[in-house]
Every structure is written in C-alpha cells, then in structure tokens.
C-alpha cells in the first residue's frame, strides 16, 4: 500500500529545498503563475515517481521534472493566453538581498537574469541546486563536459558584466 510522506518530513523537505526549486521553475517558466503551478505539480510528481514514505526524491529528479513540465506548459495554448496577462519574470526578485550587501548583489542578480539561458540554467543547477556536473548533464540531456563548459562560459560572462558594472 502506498504511504503519504510524513508531515514533518514533507515540511522540512520543503523548507530546505523549495526555494531553490522555485528559483529554477521561475527561470524555466514564462510567468510567475506558470512557475507556481509547475513547482507544485513537479514536487508532487517527483515524490510519486522517486520518493518513498520516509525518503525524499533526489534533487536532480525534481529539477528534471520541473524542466519537462515547463516545456509542457510552454506548449499549452490556453496557458499562453493567460501568460500574456501576467507579469513578466523579470519583475520578480529571484534572490534574497541582505541589507548590508549594497547594490552589487542587485547588479549580480540582474546579470544572472541577463545570461543566455543555456548558461544560466547550468549555473543555477550547480550553484543553488548543488548538483554535480554529471547530475546536471542528466537533467539537461547533455554530456558532463558540455555542462562544465557552459558553466565556465557563464561564469566568464558574469565576470565581464560585473567588471563593466563595478570595475
């Protein structure tokens, strides 16, 4: 018989991981509303597919599920109409900026948002998703070498942007 995850386990898993999954969902979705729907559905599906009553699913599976569902959402015509009425993703802050950080972190967030998607998703999965390059390669259907290369290019790109902003 299937078992629903215990409330404590489910809530602590959400508390520890939901923000990084939401960050990735926001980047993959075309609107905040889509990102929220994708996140909820992906969390549930990931548990159904890879979780156990006392063991959460692997983070890589959740990221892969978010990515696949975001593609499905993007293809959906009825959601496209809704998306046009919604706010753009760029309006929302993706990161928590501490009071003492000054404007540099805001500039860095904008630089991350401005990255080409192929670099941004690898950096997101590596830095905030804490996945290995092998896991990233599995999520994105790439070779590990390509994932590592995109990460390096993305970091170099950010360096250039931040040099221009704060030399």
């Amino acid at each position: 018989m299937d078992t629903i995850p215990a409330p404590d386990l489910w809530n602590s898993w959400l508390a520890q991981n939901a923000s990084k999954f939401f960050l990735y969902a926001r980047q993959q979705a075309r609107s905040e509303a889509d990102a929220e729907d994708i996140l909820q559905e992906s969390l549930v599906e990931s548990w159904q597919r890879g979780g156990q009553a006392n063991q959460p699913p692997a983070a890589a599976l959740v990221f892969a599920t978010i990515r696949r569902r975001a593609i499905d959402f993007a293809r959906s015509a009825d959601r496209r109409a809704k998306r046009e009425l919604d706010h753009g993703v760029s309006a929302a802050r993706w990161f928590t900026i501490s009071d003492g950080a000054g404007s540099i972190d805001l500039e860095l967030e904008d630089a991350v948002k401005g990255l080409p998607e192929i670099y941004r998703e690898v950096i997101t999965l590596k830095v905030w998703g804490e996945l290995t390059f092998a896991e990233i390669a599995d999520v994105l259907k790439l070779s590990p070498n390509t994932a590592a290369s995109r990460y390096r290019y993305g970091i170099d790109h950010l360096r250039q942007v931040m040099k221009a902003v704060a030399p």
Partner: protein
C-alpha cells in the same frame, strides 16, 4: 572583484516562496504518495496487453489470403487425417519503427512492426506423413517508454 564571482553567487540565497504558494505546497502532501514501481509496470503492462490483444483480435478476424489457408485449419481438412505440430521455427525478417502511440496520457509506447517467417512442421498421427508449412506473419510490438 571579478575573481570572487562564484563566491558572490553562492552567497545569494534564492528568494523564499510567497506564503500562499508555500501553503499550497504543504497542502499538496496528501497527493504525493509514491506510486510503487510495480504498479507503474503493471499499468504499462496492462496497456501493452490491451494493445496486443486488439492487434491479435484484428489479425484473427481478418480474411485469410486466398490460396494460403491458416495453419489452424489445415490438419482437419486433410481427408480425415490429423496432423499435429512437432516443430516451429520463427525467423525475424524485418523490423521497422512505426511510430509512438499514447495508450494512456503520459505513457508513450514505441510501436515496432516485425515481420516473421514461421516454419511449422506437422506429423500425421500414425507417423505416415509429414506436413511442412512456411508463411510470413506481421506483428506489432508496443515498447513502453520511460519519460522524465
């Protein structure tokens, strides 16, 4: 400052979920019961079995090709003699990918067409004579695909 870009990135913390979304995610726990893989495979197997049954039913009810009677009818039509099968060899001649079908939503199956050459040998019950029949047979095989 550009050299510590990775450290600066790692210090950025992803924004917390809006309270409403976090509440909705917490409430979704009741629908997150893991589906046992055996159940998944059983469902896949059931879908495949239904598809195969349909294909078999179709092939059984299809009119036989003129001049080429079906194997099942031959022994009783040999002037009272009864032949029973003693050997059957099946040679795979062709394999083609037909396409991908969805017996259920989110449960894709590759449909593969196989052409077999069946070589069947029958002995008359008294052992007085042997009958050998060769004919081609078409088969559609559904192969469940795992998607993530």
């Amino acid at each position: 400052m550009s050299d510590d870009i990775e450290q600066r990135l790692s210090r950025l913390r992803p924004a917390a979920l809006p309270p409403g979304l976090m509440g909705a995610c917490r409430s979704a726990r009741s629908t997150a019961a893991p589906v046992k893989s055996s159940l998944r495979w059983w469902l896949n197997g059931l879908a495949a079995a239904i598809l195969i049954s349909g294909l078999i039913a179709y092939s059984l009810h299809r009119p036989a090709t003129p001049g080429r009677p079906s194997v099942a009818h031959i022994p009783v039509q040999q002037m009272g003699r009864v032949y029973t099968p003693v050997e059957s060899l099946n040679h795979l001649l062709e394999v083609d990918e037909v396409g991908i079908v969805f017996p259920e939503p989110d449960r894709p199956c590759r449909l593969v067409r196989c052409v077999w050459l069946d070589d069947n040998t029958y002995h008359e019950r008294t052992g007085a004579s042997t009958l050998r029949m060769t004919q081609s047979r078409e088969q559609f095989v559904p192969v469940p695909l795992e998607i993530y």
